[in-house]
Amino acid sequence: MATTLERTSRRAGARSTSPNPRRLRGIGGWIGRILLGIVFAFPLLFMFVSSLKPDQQIFGDLSSIAAFLPVGNLSFDNYGAVFDRVPAARFLINSIGISAVTVILGVLINSLAAFALSRMRVRGKGIILTLIIATLIVPFETLALPLVWWVNQLPTLELDGFNLSLTTGWLDTYQVQIIPFVANAFSIYLFHQYFDSIPKELDEAARVDGASWFKIYRKIVMPLSGPAIATVSILTFLPAWNSYLWPLMVVQSEELRPVMIGVQYFFQLNVSWGQVMAYSSMITLPVVALFIAFQRSFVNSIASSGVKG
């Protein structure tokens, strides 16, 4: 009892004379986190708030905190103007389609490749995996022009009314924005590492029971690989959504363009910054919504892959 009283009085004394260092550290940590949060949130806040302001007010507010506050002459005029200037709905649908198909095919193809390298007896698979990983060091920009030439040599089926004909060249198509990005060395590596962590005894037992490799893949390995699928999906989705250079080079028709190309529509001699912010908000919202919906998987994917998406 005396000890408890002493402790209590010590605590009270400590509270009255000097602040508790642990508590201080806690408060300091929170302040640090809030400041860090502000640093990352303010550009987004600025973008959303500025999308509601006329151009002159955006620049007028820049020197004060008003730049981040929804004050002054607010309206949705910039959003209306965006649709007059850019076929934004079409671009959004294109990007959603291209990103979704790239993700689904990416998960399928890369997991199959990784499964073969992880589970099947392939001669020289160590070298194959090394070669696949080695391709990671080649930046896409250096491959872009040869890739343009290459996709331009590929055969394609063209539908003209009821006539189906075989022509050459994938330029100005949807598939040219999807297929080159389906197979991905990093995704294969991630799947391979994850598959290696699944006990081989499971598929050995299934083999003894007569299961085919594909059955083992689809019934044992893939159902156990949820985190790897989530990681690869996210890491495939982000570059597909943010894709800019490639569609710029291979897509000529407006109806096939993705959202990122739309940003360039606003950079004319007289730039309308309110419209730029409105369009940026529109194309950022799907990604922010996706992040909120899959926050846990997103953080896990970054933690497990060691890269920022």
Partner: protein, 456 residues
């Protein structure tokens, strides 16, 4: 299960079959979804592929359809004016049909270069004027053979190389200085005119007087945060007004002496001095016109494209002044977007016919009106409000006629522009002018040499 297999092989097959049946019934729901999604995705790619083949036509012009590429995506007014010219042409005859494809301006050149590498250029392209010699040298463009007369066009609206005309434009733009008459009056400064532009000393006195008013940190906005083509377009005319140049124009084989001679170094010192004395900011705001209208600068050095916006905001208080005479008369950059025909076009005669049709004064006027730019001919200028002899915008036509200097008509220009841009930024940042300019000259000369002098 494995143990059962080892001990009871006969029964094992039955057990396995049952397990497999059961397995197939209770197949992992998630995986079923995944597989369905994958198949859907594959089908989607197929369907997208079927409906997605657009205008990638290496045989452009062969089937009675000509494709025209323009940099106007995102500029609805200019795009609509181009479309109306095309519509008028399509209605005027039935042999060929011209189809417009628009690209965003900032990425237009990249799209053209990628298409050229894949042999997928359309018949008709628009080109930023100073790039014409490079595109002609690269054999993207073929010399023009038009039935229309180009002799009435402003010289700066024609793209020439090796004595041949490869392109023409409907309009040009002009650099100018915009200010408020009330500010100049308050500082006791006269308004500069086409006939009597500010001299170097007058300009510096004006800036000092404006700075003394204490209303602005930096009274002059030179657009120093600009990048790309803005740098040579805006700042090389100052260099030329001093007596220097981007290259020796006699044979376009070297920049030595022109870009690093005494006059050029004098320009560089003067240019940096504007920053050092606090007359202009080392890095201006992203939008100089908006900053000027928000009264963050007294004088903005910009193009004719900003005039209408400024006039709407300031009314009669706006004054439009010519660039400064730094010794060899005021200079401004000439050459804006122009039209040409590609070498791969399967029906060049039709492409030339369209371009000849488009040169009618009413067509030029339509485009110039939509863009707020300087019409390429006097006949068209007469049809554009503001460009008649007493019009408010006539001053830009006068600037263009009197002071426009074409950027060097050499295929090396894109490289020269990049080097000059880097040098200008370094000078603004305070680097040693002579060293910076010598380095630029060395790089330019080496580039020209490595391309065999860009001979045709």
């Amino acid at each position: 299960m494995a143990a059962a297999t080892a001990t009871l092989p006969g029964r094992n097959q039955t057990i396995n079959a049952r397990i497999q049946q059961k397995d197939s019934r209770v197949m992992n729901t998630h995986f079923k979804r995944f597989l369905t999604a994958s198949l859907t995705a594959a089908a989607l790619v197929g369907s997208m592929a079927a409906c997605g083949t657009g205008g990638g036509n290496s045989k452009d012009g062969a089937n009675g359809e000509l494709t025209l590429w323009t940099h106007n995506a995102g500029n609805p007014d200019e795009l609509a004016s181009i479309q109306s010219v095309v519509d008028a042409y399509n209605q005027s005859q039935s042999k060929v049909k011209v189809k417009v494809q628009a690209f965003p301006q900032d990425s237009y050149n990249d799209s053209v270069v990628a298409a050229a590498s894949a042999n997928k250029l359309p018949c008709i392209v628009d080109i930023d004027g100073p790039n014409v010699p490079n595109w002609a040298w690269s054999k993207y463009l073929t010399p023009l053979k038009l039935s229309a007369d180009l002799s009435q066009n402003l010289p700066s609206t024609l793209g020439k190389w090796n004595g041949q005309t490869y392109s023409f434009g409907y309009y040009d733009v002009a650099l100018a200085m915009l200010a408020r008459a009330s500010d100049l009056k308050a500082a006791g400064i006269r308004v500069a005119t086409v006939d009597k532009p500010w001299t170097k000393d007058e300009f510096e006195s004006a800036l000092a007087a404006l700075k003394r008013l204490g209303k602005w940190d930096n009274p002059l906005d030179l657009g120093t945060s600009g990048t790309g083509e803005w740098l040579p377009y805006a700042y090389s005319p100052f260099l030329q007004s001093f007596g220097g140049d981007l290259i020796n124009r006699k044979d376009f084989q070297s920049a030595d002496g022109a870009l690093n001679g005494d006059k050029a170094v004098e320009w560089a010192n003067w240019f940096h001095g504007l920053i050092a004395k606090g007359y202009a900011a080392q890095k201006s705001g992203k939008d100089s016109t908006a900053d000027f209208l928000n009264n963050k600068s007294a004088i903005v050095y910009t193009g004719s494209w900003a005039a209408d916006k400024a006039r709407t905001a300031l009314g009669d208080d706006l004054v439009v002044m010519p660039s400064v005479d730094l010794g060899n008369g005021p200079k401004i950059g000439g050459g804006s977007w122009q039209w040409g025909v590609t070498t791969g076009c399967k029906n060049p005669d039709a492409a030339m016919d369209y371009l000849s049709f488009s040169l009618k004064p009413e067509n030029i006027a339509k485009v110039a009106k939509a863009t707020g730019t300087i019409p390429a001919t006097d006949a068209a200028a007469a049809l554009v409000p503001g460009y008649e002899p007493t019009g408010k915008n006539r001053v830009f036509l006068d600037f263009s006629k009197k002071s426009a200097v074409l950027r060097p008509e050499t295929p090396a220009y894109p490289f020269i522009a990049t080097e000059f841009g880097k040098a200008a930024q370094d000078i603004i940042s305070g680097a040693d002018p002579k060293q910076v300019l010598d380095k630029a000259v060395k790089n330019i000369d080496s580039n020209i040499k490595s391309n065999n002098g860009y001979k045709s």
